[in-house]
């Protein structure tokens, strides 16, 4: 299969020169005469490709270089070196044709004007993106229904809750139906219900319009629900690029067995079954090497008064945390 590639990134690097000084008045005066700088390499030789219609999770701890990469790919930042094309355009040239076909949603940044209804911002976007009236209305109706926005668009933005505001931000960012979405923490600070709704909306948008999505999120539920593929970046470098399931398999070659017991069981009866994660009040969780899972499952069923048993992959949060701690092999 030779899928069309929407995002091509080759050896992308971004260095910042940042002023530094010690704390205190003396250092403050000294810095007037001799400013000192430190070069920070935010992104180092990052390379990857994203095919049309893919949803890719872009993961990393704070300061890993995720947002800097997204800003370069959306044309906000010039890289120090390296190359990138998005939908065939070099992003930092900021060609109108490119800007018309992409969007960057930043969970912490608003485009809606605070004191007036979101609808006013939508109308400005309609004019700027030259969206014909009929298409604008149809898209707005569609998004209003998907995100349950009835009654919200006429309220001043300052009177909306965080979740309602984020939904309106998404509409403002997608009214022109961009082909590529860079989403930077779109569910930040939202409650679980709202996170689910936003997730569903992203999935629906991706499926309806075949849009390509590069998503950063600290909520692993977002990643697990939306992304088959993840790119992990740490200290500005790509540490892993591949299927989420492969990551789990290579980093965490074990399963977690959750067992509900009918009767009290002495701990020594668990010897040799695996690592006990938790045990008590009729519940047992075991970490078992993948290849031993069938054997341990059989033993549990045969030797213990089992009421219920489930076999699960380890939580994605734990896997990612492990990647940041110990790294993975070559991507």
């Amino acid at each position: 299969m030779n899928a069309e590639i929407d995002v091509k990134v080759r050896e992308l690097t971004k260095r910042y020169k940042v002023p530094v000084r010690e704390g205190g008045f003396r250092a403050s005066v000294a810095s007037l005469f001799r400013r000192q700088y430190r070069v920070v390499e935010a992104v180092t030789s990052v390379s990857f490709e994203i095919a049309r219609g893919e949803i890719v999770g872009f993961l990393g701890p704070n300061g890993a270089g995720k947002t800097t990469t997204l800003k370069m790919l959306s044309g906000l930042l010039y890289p120090t070196s390296g190359e990138a094309t998005v939908l065939g355009h070099v992003p930092w040239r900021r060609e109108a044709e490119f800007l018309r076909r992409m969007t960057l949603v930043m969970g912490q940044k608003n485009q809606l004007v605070w004191d007036i209804p979101a609808m006013d911002t939508f109308l400005v976007n309609q004019a700027i993106y030259r969206i014909p009236e009929r298409e604008f209305q149809a898209t707005l109706d569609e998004f209003t229904s998907l995100l349950e926005l009835e009654g919200l668009l006429q309220k001043p933005v300052r009177n909306l809750s965080l979740g309602e505001r984020m939904k309106c931000e998404l509409v403002a960012a997608l009214l022109h139906k961009p082909r590529i979405l860079f989403l930077d923490e779109p569910t930040l600070g939202l409650d679980v219900t709202m996170q689910n709704r936003i997730r569903e909306f992203i999935r629906e948008y991706n499926q309806r319009y075949g849009a390509t999505v590069l998503l950063t999120s600290h909520y692993m539920a977002d990643i697990a629900a939306l992304c088959r593929r993840v790119i992990i970046i740490h200290n500005g470098r790509v540490m892993f690029d591949g299927e989420l399931s492969r990551l789990v398999g290579s980093i965490a070659p074990f399963k977690v067995l959750h067992v509900a017991l009918d009767d009290a069981v002495l701990p020594d009866r668990l010897d040799g079954m695996g690592e006990v994660i938790s045990f008590g009040q009729g519940k047992l969780s075991l970490k078992v090497p993948k290849e031993r899972t069938p054997e341990v499952t059989s033993r549990l069923l045969a030797e213990l008064p089992v009421l219920d048993l489930s076999v699960e992959d380890p939580p994605i949060e734990d896997v990612i945390a492990q990647v940041f701690r110990q790294g993975v092999g070559a991507p």
Binding site: Y16, K71, S74, G75, L76, L77, Y78, R94, A96, E97, L99, R100, M102, T103, L104, M106, K109, N110, Q111, V113, D115, I116, D120, T121, L123, V124, N125, Q126, A127, I128, Y129, R130, P156
Partner: protein
């Protein structure tokens, strides 16, 4: 021809939407907008009272008797309104809080937002400024030689002055890419311009050497020149040459702005976003 027409039509629609957005925002804060406007009249009125008192004691200065001084500062209040520009503060703020990044993501030069906001503010404030100016005219009875040619020349000089002030401020705004305190540099340069450009007194009252220099500086074409055209201190035949110099300043500042914009974007760190 068709693509050009479509581009202009698109631009006009965007401006119309931005006007509505600006007006909606201003109407939310109508009291403060009204007070800012009222405050902008304070400077010309203070100058008027000071210089009227001086002329009453000293007699006419450089051809300006009491009637001339009154005309100068009444017209100045109109010129001030149309030549106000404030994006140097706004631009720094947009960079610091990350809003510039949001605007840069769109296929629409962020400078259009400043133009639209500037024009919208000036237009909406006419609702109360026109009655105030009329009241001032009836109260002070300034000596203004009315003719359609002069009104047209004044309107042109005022429009050019407005564009020139906008470009002057816009160039200083670009410094925000390099320093968060771009407004401090602007305020210093602008205060100097104000002193010699006809802000606190007609340029004719400056020492001759300074006067000669001042008449080539942008601030003269922002303040002194349109006022002098309006009150008849400049012969109509001399207006075109003034407009040419003013146009040259606008063109030069536009080139400087574009250069700074391009350099600034390369340096832009998209902070706050």
């Amino acid at each position: 021809m068709k693509p050009v027409f479509e581009a202009l039509q698109g631009l006009w629609r965007s401006y119309k939407a931005l006007f509505h957005l600006s007006w909606s925002e201003m109407l939310q804060y109508r009291a403060s907008v009204f007070l800012w406007t009222l405050w902008s009249l304070a400077g010309p009125m203070i100058h008027l009272s000071v210089w009227s008192s001086i002329v009453a004691v000293e007699g006419a200065l450089a051809g300006y008797d009491r009637g001339g001084i009154v005309a100068y500062f009444v017209v100045q209040s109109v010129v001030y309104h149309f030549t106000s520009a404030w994006q140097v503060w706004e631009f720094s703020y947009l960079i610091r809080n990350g809003t510039l990044s949001v605007r840069l993501l769109k296929p629409f030069d962020p400078s259009h937002h400043f133009v639209a906001n500037n024009v919208a503010f000036k237009l909406i404030n006419l609702v109360w400024l026109v009655p105030i100016w009329t009241g001032m005219y009836l109260y002070f009875r300034p000596e203004i030689p009315w003719s359609w040619e002069r009104v047209l020349a004044f309107a042109l000089a005022l429009t050019w002055a407005s564009v020139l002030m906008f470009m002057w401020t816009h160039c200083w705004s670009m410094l925000a890419f390099w320093t968060v305190r771009a407004s401090a540099f602007f305020e210093f340069a602008d205060a100097l311009g104000y002193l010699v450009g006809g802000g606190i007194a007609p340029v004719a009252l400056l020492p001759p050497a300074l006067q000669w220099i001042a008449r080539f500086l942008p601030h003269y074409f922002i303040a002194g020149f349109p006022i002098e055209v309006g009150i008849g201190a400049i012969d109509l035949a001399a207006v075109p040459s003034g407009m040419i110099v003013s146009s040259a300043w606008i063109a030069a500042l536009f080139v400087v702005y574009r250069k700074l914009w391009r350099l600034g974007l390369k340096r832009f760190g998209a902070v706050g976003a």
